[in-house]
Amino acid sequence: MPGQPEKHMNKPGKNNKTRTVYGPVATVFASVNTGSWRILRPGPDHSRCAGCGQCETFCPTGVIEIIDDPAKEGGRGKVVEIDWAYCKGCGICADVCPKKCIRMVEEKKGNENEERN
């Protein structure tokens, strides 16, 4: 997911051709950074996270991934990774977490891409 908008940002084709289409359509994805809507952000406590994947399953925007963390539990640990470009901060992940280790914390302007616990 990360980097998806940039991938298709109005890149000209090989021959720099255009064509006319009818109806409402956009190919310049200028307003997709829905992460900017966040008021609260999920703050996972990675030390208590068991990597069960409930948050990944229930996330309505599909921005949560459970990834391996070699530094945890002798290399077999899992942690939650969130794509901050798209997470709207809805809080469903915090709600469904069986270990209650995701806490919704206040979003502060200027450090959108810095994860805090």
């Binding site: 289409v21 009818y22 109806g23 409402p24 359509v25 956009a26 190919t27």
Partner: protein
């Protein structure tokens, strides 16, 4: 060389066969009387692999059309069909299909809208959607159901049209009426209807588009205008496609059909299955010496204004049968179109509401209308210019059909 088989099919069967011949690859339909056999027969065809398609079981008509739009945008023909309140539930999505220029062809089995609840035929369901940006075809018989669907695909998918189409068939009168139908073979239909490809907007992860995004006042009118241009072009392209169809299949259709109009003193404008009864009755009345004619409107959207005005030029008295009430309007929807197509003062146009909620439009009803119109020509009518709509087949005790016990 075309190979046609004469088969006994009802309207739903012919619609199903036509969708199959168009090689639809995704079907999302929700059953509703009297359309249900279309949804059922399509599912049987998929299960038995007589039609290689995905069948999406949906929970409503709103979703049925939404899925069809999404599927068709990936580059396949997608099919759905509906009726009455099902069409009403599609209302929002009809505009998405037409505005995004997704050329879906949808059989609409005409049935009255609530209330009163009714399972039976009138045209109010489709008339309520006449400005939804869909082409609208109305069929007279089961052969037309088959042929108009095939023709509609060719028109809807035309690069200058790119507009979805409803092919309307009268509930029960056509949907459940078994008639002999010349059914073309797959090879001939394939030649008439090449494999589908998206010519405008499409869904492809390798070349992404965001379809149906928020559009500002700067561009909204322009996109509506694009649709208006398509409807104007359709008036030329529909006859071209119909002629192409006639060249292959031998059956000639038009935007409208004139029956015995040339020397007619009065002409009755009809639409749907009633047209057959009207033509039959006109023939009977001609044998009795009355010069009466019938026009059948096959294409209601776009409305064939010039063609109709040409046929009715010089006629003093014209009648219109509306199979929907047009409540609060000056007349029913068909009458409004006919009236607006004709110059003032030259022609008097009278509106007759008939056949609501499944009531038969009988030879007797048509004869009564013709007789009244002839009296208006001869000024034998007591009040020939009386304004208003005549509810020709409504019982005189309409205001007291239901009495209840007073519990006091």
């Amino acid at each position: 060389m075309k190979k046609e088989i004469r088969r006994m099919l009802d309207g739903n069967g012919a619609a199903t066969e036509a969708l199959k011949l168009a090689r639809v690859q995704v079907i999302s339909a929700y059953p509703i009387t009297p359309q249900s056999p279309i949804a059922e027969k399509l599912s049987e065809l998929v299960v038995s692999h007589k039609l290689e398609a995905r069948y999406i079981r949906v929970e409503s008509e709103h979703t049925a059309l939404s899925c069809a739009i999404g599927a068709q945008l990936t580059g396949v023909r997608a099919a759905t069909a509906t009726s009455s309140v099902g069409l009403a539930l599609m209302h929002e999505i009809l505009g998405v299909a037409s505005g995004c220029r997704v050329p879906i062809v949808m059989p609409v089995v005409n049935r009255a809208l609530v209330s009163p609840w009714s399972l039976w035929c009138d045209h109010q369901d489709a008339m309520a959607e006449r400005d939804s940006g869909w082409l609208q075809f109305y069929t007279e018989n089961v052969q037309e159901v088959m042929d108009f669907i095939l023709i509609a695909y060719n028109i809807a998918e035309h690069t200058e049209i790119l507009t979805p189409a409803m092919v309307c068939l009268d509930g029960f009168f056509l949907s459940h009426s078994t008639q002999p139908v010349m059914t073309p073979d797959q090879e001939t239909v394939d030649a008439f209807l090449p494999p589908y490809r998206s010519k405008n907007l499409f869904l492809d992860p390798k070349d992404p588009m965001f379809i149906n995004n928020l559009t500002s006042p700067d561009e909204f009118s322009e996109m509506r205008f694009q649709q208006k241009v398509a409807f104007e072009r359709a008036l030329d392209i529909i006859p071209e496609v119909q002629n192409h169809f006639a060249g292959i299949f031998g059956r000639q259709y038009g935007l409208l059909e004139a029956h015995e109009c040339e020397d007619a003193e009065v002409v009755l404008v009809t639409m749907g299955s009633m047209a057959g009864t009207a033509k039959y009755t006109a023939n009977m009345m001609r044998k009795a010496g009355h010069k009466v004619g019938v026009i059948k409107i096959s294409v209601f959207r776009p409305f064939p204004v010039a063609q109709l005005a040409g046929l009715l030029k010089g006629k003093k008295v014209v009648g219109v049968i509306d199979r929907s009430a047009g409540l609060g309007a000056q007349g029913g929807p068909l009458w409004l179109e006919v009236k607006a197509a004709l110059p003032d003062n030259d022609t008097r146009v009278f509106d007759y509401v008939a056949g609501l909620g499944g009531r038969d439009i009988t030879e007797k009803t048509i004869e009564t209308i013709f007789t009244g119109l002839l009296q208006k020509v001869n000024k034998k009518d007591a009040n020939p210019d009386a304004p208003g709509v005549c509810w020709i087949d409504t019982h005189p005790d309409a205001m007291s059909v239901r009495e209840v016990i007073v519990n006091d």
